[in-house]
Every structure is written in C-alpha cells, then in structure tokens.
C-alpha cells in the first residue's frame, strides 16, 4: 500500500507511475516486496524492477539474510529503517545510504510498529523527487479514505517526522552473503508425485519436519520476558504459543527466540502475569 501511495504522490506531481507487489502469498510480518516505477513519460514496461535507483528496507533484520543491494545502481541509494546511523550499517558494498528509526516513530505516533507510512516520508526526502506535501496528500487519500481521517492524519504526521529525522550518508561495504543452498532435483531425481519423506540433501533436510530451518524470530518487535520466580509451570503459555516455541525446563517456561514472533499471547494469557513484553533492541 505504501508503494501505491508513493506512486499516487508522484502522479499528483504530473508524473506517470506504476506500482505493484511481488506476486505470492502475503502474510503480516513476513518478508515481502513491492515495486514502484515513476517517469515523466508513459510507462510501458510491466516487469518487476531488477535494477532499482532506490531500495527501501522496512525491516533491518533483512539486512542479515538478504543482500538488499543486489541490482541497485552504482549511484543508487538504500533507505533503511534502523536506529543506527548510515556509517554504522555494513552492507555488501559502499553506497549512498539513509537511515531513520521508523519503528520508534510509528510506535510513538501510531501506537503500532507499522512503518510503511513513516518510510514514505523518509523516501520522499531521500529521493527529493516527490514533495512532502504530495506524500501527505497521498497518505490522506489512500489511508484516510480507508481508515478514517484521524488515522490518515496520524500516518501523515509519522511520515513528516521521518522526513525530518532522516540521516543521509554512506554505508560501509564488505559484508559477505552466502546464498542459502536450495534443493534442485532433476526430473529423474524427483520422487513420484513429488512426495518426499524426511530427506537429507545438499541443502539440508527437506520433507517432513524440515520447516524448522525457517527461523521466524526476526519478525519480532516486542520480546517476551519470563519471570521464573513467578512462573508456576502451569503450561498455559506452552499450550497457547502459536509458534510452539515455549518449552518447559524444571517446570518453568523457556522461550526459543529463534522462532518467537512476539505476538504477546503468552503474556496476555499467563494466569500469574509472569511474562511481560518489552520493546526489543537489536
């Protein structure tokens, strides 16, 4: 929706713009992509964007697992949601980099860690190609129309704050990314009907029980803390954890942060309030 809003702001300033998401199943908190193309002329190209001028990263945990600079033009810029300064960020190469702590801004102004509108303000400042006024108008039209005027204004304020707070500089380079190996069997190697049991391959375990390789801990904004003095070992959190990442050790709840998504159900349902949620600082 943010990609569409940026396109709308560009259109308001007499540009042509196209915007679309990466096709696939979308789920809240999971890594997704969206693209926006802006031009003074009619845009006839309909593909995904492989060599962008700007890359916006809403979740800094992605920097650890994905080379976000892949395809970015030499004089391009990456805009990152992080509390760090640009020169504190290390990526695969040295490029123009702008940072803003959009998560804090969103929590303060919206009460939720949803950062897309804040990042719109940051992007407007970074590109200088769309004015902040147009971004605010576009947010009011897109978000205000759907969620009500008040919500629209809040989002516009968040964007304005990110616009003001943005720090511009260069990031450091030299970070190595080793792409994760994938299991790519030939047609002959493929099991009948595609059905597989637990199978060890060059990409690690595939088949039943293999999804544990997918560490979902980096989706988290809030982190649960268990007070073991209060915990009575009733297993309610163990029963209710959607991830199943709580284990019981000596009758006390222990959380596996590789998988915890920070939903807060355990803290809400704990009968003795032994679990509290805190903002996670990475």
């Amino acid at each position: 929706m943010a990609a569409q809003t940026y396109a709308l702001a560009a259109v308001m300033e007499d540009n042509y713009a196209v915007s679309f998401p990466f096709f696939g199943a979308e789920r809240r908190g999971a890594p997704v992509m969206a693209f926006t193309r802006v031009d003074k002329d009619v845009i006839r190209i309909k593909t995904q964007i492989y060599e962008p001028d700007y890359v916006v990263v809403l979740d800094e945990t992605l920097l650890e697992t994905v080379d976000v600079l892949k395809g970015l033009k030499e004089d391009g810029m990456v805009v990152i949601n992080t509390a760090r300064r640009p020169d504190e960020v290390q990526l695969s190469r040295e490029v123009n980099c702008a940072t803003v702590d959009a998560t804090s801004i969103s929590l303060e102004l919206l009460g939720r860690p949803i950062t897309n509108t804040s990042m719109l303000g940051a992007l407007a400042r970074a590109t200088g190609e769309v004015s902040m006024e147009s971004i605010e108008r576009a947010i009011m039209e897109k978000f205000g129309g759907k969620l009500g005027t008040e919500a629209g204004e809040k989002n516009a304020r968040a964007a304005r704050k990110a616009y003001q707070d943005l720090q511009v500089g260069m990031c450091r380079g030299g970070k190595d990314f080793v792409p994760r190996k994938e299991w790519l069997p030939t047609v002959q190697e493929m099991p009948l009907g595609g059905s597989i049991g637990a199978l060890e391959t060059e990409a690690g375990l595939v088949g039943i029980g293999s999804f544990v390789r997918n560490k979902t801990g980096d989706w988290r904004t809030f982190i649960p803390h268990v007070d073991h003095d209060k915990c009575i070992g009733c297993r309610m959190c163990w029963f209710y954890c959607p991830e199943g990442c709580i284990t019981m050790e000596d009758q006390k709840a222990v959380i596996d942060f590789d998988y915890c998504k920070g939903c807060g159900i355990c803290a809400q349902e704990c009968p003795v309030d032994a679990i509290s949620m805190e903002r996670e600082r990475r």
Partner: protein, 300 residues
C-alpha cells in the same frame, strides 16, 4: 478421565518455523489437535492459510504424512485416503483440516457426501470467518456487519449485510456419530472433544473457532481473549452431538454484551448503535436457541 494440558506430549507434530501471522490461532488449534491425534495420523489440507504457512515445497512443518489437493474436495480426498489405508491393512487416523471458506462455501458438497456415507475420518473446520489466505474476502461464515475486502464499508452498505451461516447445525442434521464445536479459549473442553473425536468411529466433524488478528484487525495478543468473548457474548456456542442428538452444551458462567466482543476488533469499528443492537439481537437469539432448553440458573 479426560485429557489435561499436562498430559500432552512435548513433541510437536506441527513444528515451529511456520509462517502464520503473529498471534494466529490456527497453528495453536492444529498443533494441539495433533498432540491428541498422535503420530499415526495422515493430514489433508485444501487451499487455506494452513496450507501456505505450514510449508513451502520441499520444506514442511508437519511430522506426519501430509498432502493437499484442490479447494473443494476435502471430504472426497480424506474418504479416498482412508479407504486406501484400509486396503493396506492399516488403521491410521485420517484428518482433513479446512478453513471456513473450504467448509461453508466451497467444500460443502464433498463434506456433505462424506458425512452421508459415514466415512471413518475426522473433518476439522477452523473458522476464522472469512477467506483470510487470499486477503480477507467475505465467506458464508462472516458475521453481520463485518468489514472485509468484498464487503467494504461504504456510505450505503456498512459491511456484510447477512448473518453467519449456522454450519455446525447443518452438520448436526447429517446425524453423524460425533460432531462438536470448540474454541481454544477453553482448553479442557477442547482436549476432551478432540480425544472423543479420535476415539469415535465413523464420520466426525470438529468446528473450531479461530480468531484471526490480521483479518479481524485486533491486537495479536488478544486472539485467545476474542475466542473467550465470542462464547461469553453468545456469538459462538460450545456443544457436541452424537447421531444428531445434542449431548452436551457448555454454558458460560456470565453473559457479556456483544459490544464487549466487537470492541477491540477493527472489522466492526464502523458499527453504529443500530448495528450493535441488530448484532445483539442475533446473539440473544442464538443464546436462547442454544441455552433455552437448559434448566434456568438461579441468579447469584
């Protein structure tokens, strides 16, 4: 003796690493059901969120045999799997887990057929009251007034104009050996019914109420609380039936107004007093219909 939370095994047959939204109730439902059903189970899922967050080929979160087919044929597929298992001389439990779209709307004919043939399988419907997987479209299960992407709130039509279809009663009318409605907000009741379904022969239907923070637009931490408020407000009823005869109804200790239930949900944000009254009327009707036959309790 019925099962307790502490009796459940530690091993997960539906593992962490799945990609459900934070606070989703469906993995809670599925993981705990699987703990009751045990290792000798074959799971089928049609198109639903569970299919997508439970794995991306070749990686899956299941530790039991698992397959999927088209959206509409859960009933037919689990029938076929069970018969194949029987032919092999085995006695594995065969479970189909569909969402409300795959049960109320798209899968109802295959489901009805399997129920009528009294196939020896368990059918689980986890009901999150819309087609969440494709981005929150209304289904037969969506309650009155709820905003979805296909029933958006406009100036003339505020959300869905029809009431929720009473699917559980449709299944009760099939007079199958066992059917039950459940909610994870009531763990003891949940486990008892799951265990009973496991130990019954013939067609069994479990209907689990499953709050969806993304689609209902509530705080992910409140998923269980939403399940609880649904029962206490009369928007959802916990009961079970054998061969069409109701054998148990859980009556909540207190009744809360519908307003309490819809308060924290974004999909009801646009509700006017009139709409609240209309939804309250529906809940009161349900309450009377379900609990009216029970002996009147003395007010405290």
């Amino acid at each position: 003796m019925s099962l307790n939370i502490k009796d459940l095994p530690d091993e997960h047959l539906f593992t962490p690493g799945h990609t459900a939204c934070p606070g989703c109730a469906a993995p809670i439902v599925v993981r705990n059901l699987m703990k009751v059903f045990g290792k000798d189970t074959i799971v089928y899922a049609p198109a639903n969120c569970l299919l997508v967050f439970g794995g991306t080929y070749p990686y899956i979160a299941w530790k039991v045999p698992y397959l999927h087919e088209a959206f509409e044929n859960t009933g037919a597929c689990i029938s076929g799997v069970k018969r194949a298992v029987k032919k092999l001389g085995k006695d594995s439990l065969v479970v189909g887990i569909a969402g409300d779209g795959g049960t109320y709307d798209i899968g109802i004919q295959a489901l009805s057929g399997a129920a009528e043939r009294n196939e020896d399988v368990i059918y689980v419907c986890y009901d999150n009251e819309a087609y969440m997987n494709t981005g929150i479209q209304r289904s037969g299960s969506t309650p009155f007034g709820a905003a979805t992407t296909t029933t958006p709130v406009g100036k003339k039509i505020p959300g869905k104009t029809q009431n929720k279809k009473n699917m559980a009663e449709i299944m009760r009318a099939h007079e199958i050996p066992y059917m039950a409605t459940m909610s994870i907000a009531y763990p003891k009741d949940f486990l008892r019914k799951a265990e009973k379904a496991r130990d019954t022969r013939g067609f069994r239907y479990l209907h689990v109420f499953s709050p969806c923070p993304t689609g209902w637009r509530h705080d992910p931490a409140l998923s269980i609380e939403m399940g609880r408020r649904a029962v206490e407000s009369g928007m959802w009823t916990l009961y079970e039936a054998e061969y069409g005869r109701i054998t148990d109804i859980y009556k909540p200790k207190r009744k809360i107004p519908v307003k309490e239930y819809i308060r924290d949900q974004g999909r009801f944000r646009h509700f006017t007093e009139e709409m609240v009254a209309k939804l309250q009327e529906y809940a009161d009707h349900k309450w009377k219909q379900m609990y009216g036959s029970l002996p009147e309790e003395k007010p405290e």
